[in-house]
């Protein structure tokens, strides 16, 4: 017991970290670019450093913004049956429900497919631009908090699958055509996923700390 105590005094918050899933105390892993460290007990990813992660995240986020604007400006799906045509844009997926007096559902859809994804991209840019350029910025902690806490709630890829399912469901009723906005939204979904996967929580916070001093 005494031995254990003695060795434990050397453990400090500078040299050690804990696994988020099983709370095992481990020495802070030293990872080089392209490497990842896992918890020796439960295998949870402790940290990773993707090659040029920040640069990659920034460029995907900038590209994502362009495709997001495109996906808002053109038809998403269009539908024609016995001479009648109807065109749907991306925001209408939420607006149409709002018109049917279901404001809560409209808000959930709006947040999951439009508001949150674009907020995430802006947060990625606000975070990585100063870090890549080596500029001081006071908003880095807020941007990182927003990004890591909310990224699970963006549902762009689920919405893409939903669009494909809708297509199959109504194909027997009418002719359905995929619009330019549909393709732009798919590329936007890919950019968002790629941007976020380049960012590791531990590495981002270490960079923020280094940026402060």
């Amino acid at each position: 017991m005494n031995d254990r105590r003695a060795s434990m005094t050397e453990i400090s918050k500078q040299t050690h970290t804990a696994c988020e899933e099983c709370d095992l105390l481990v020495a802070v892993p030293e990872v080089r670019e392209g490497e990842r460290a896992e918890c020796p007990r439960c295998g949870h990813l402790l940290t990773q450093r993707p090659r040029q992660g920040f640069e990659r995240a920034l460029s995907f986020a900038l590209a994502g913004c362009v495709f997001f604007v495109i996906s808002l400006s053109f038809p998403f799906l269009s539908f024609s049956s016995s001479g009648i045509e109807n065109v749907m844009t991306l925001p209408e997926a939420s607006i149409a429900i709002y018109r049917q007096h279901d404001a809560i559902l409209a808000a959930i859809v709006f947040v999951a497919i439009i508001a949150l994804p674009i907020a995430l991209l802006v947060a990625v840019i606000a975070l990585t631009f100063p870090l890549v350029q080596g500029l001081r910025a006071s908003w880095l902690p807020q941007a990182a908090k927003l990004m890591f806490q909310l990224n699970n709630w963006a549902m762009v890829e689920v919405f893409v699958i939903g669009a494909i399912v809708s297509l199959v469901k109504i194909a027997h009723l009418a002719t359905v055509v995929l619009g330019l906005s549909f393709w732009a939204y798919i590329i936007f979904a890919i950019c968002l996923t790629a941007a976020i996967s380049g960012l590791d929580r531990m590495q981002v916070w270490l960079a923020i700390e280094a940026n402060r001093t």
């Binding site: 804990a18 988020e20 439960c42 959930i108 199959v168 009723l173």
Partner: protein, 206 residues
């Protein structure tokens, strides 16, 4: 409450849930990002349980009530989640029927059962393999949002098919209830602290 010796909690150290900084828990606030520090999520099991019960209650209207209503030439034709799957099978779109069946029927039920099992595991005296529980938890987190597919299908069809009395699709009350099920189970998984299971397992080994 004592924690297993090899954990951070046993040393009075807590991992900040916001920025992954290891800090002394008696400081109450993370010295790097200012978030509140806790050794374990406060009231994790009670919160998870409350959200799971809410999800079970919402699951009933989500399946019994219509998720959308197809109005054609004056007549209405409401359809439920399962009805939608049957329609797709009738149209011979088996892959899409499988996607909807898995996302809207199997995943929510499996998720609810898995989360109840995890809460029960974290409470009982002699829990099963903590590694197995952790794997179940990871699966639950991974599939969480995919159940929203059906809600998005409704939102797209409602926006696209608005030809007045000739042919229109209206959202049904089940759409909101089902979105509620998905949100509640996602929050439940998010609030569940897997470290509680590891604490239990180690206690019994020592």
């Amino acid at each position: 409450m004592s924690y297993p010796a090899n954990t951070a909690a046993a040393q009075g150290l807590a991992l900040c849930h916001v920025c992954c900084h290891l800090d002394h828990v008696e400081r109450h606030q993370c010295s790097r990002c200012g978030a509140e520090l806790h050794l374990r999520h406060p009231d994790s099991l009670q919160r998870t349980m409350a959200l799971l019960i809410t999800a079970v209650i919402l699951y009933i209207p989500a399946n019994v009530l219509p998720i959308m209503d197809t109005v054609q030439l004056g007549g209405g034709e409401p359809s439920t989640i399962l009805g939608g799957v049957l329609l797709l099978i009738k149209l011979d779109s088996y892959p899409v029927a499988a996607v909807i069946f898995i996302a809207s029927v199997m995943v929510p039920i499996a998720k609810l059962l898995a989360m109840f099992y995890l809460v029960w595991s974290a409470r009982r005296r002699n829990p099963g393999s903590p590694m197995q529980c952790t794997k179940i938890y990871r699966m639950t987190e991974l599939v969480g949002k995919w159940s929203m597919v059906d809600v998005f299908v409704v939102s797209i069809l409602v926006a696209l098919i608005q030809l007045g009395g000739l042919l229109s699709i209206l959202p049904g009350p089940a759409a909101l209830a089902f979105a509620g099920v998905v949100v509640c189970t996602m929050l439940a998984a998010h609030g569940f602290d897997t470290r509680l299971i590891w604490d239990r397992a180690r206690e019994n080994n020592d």
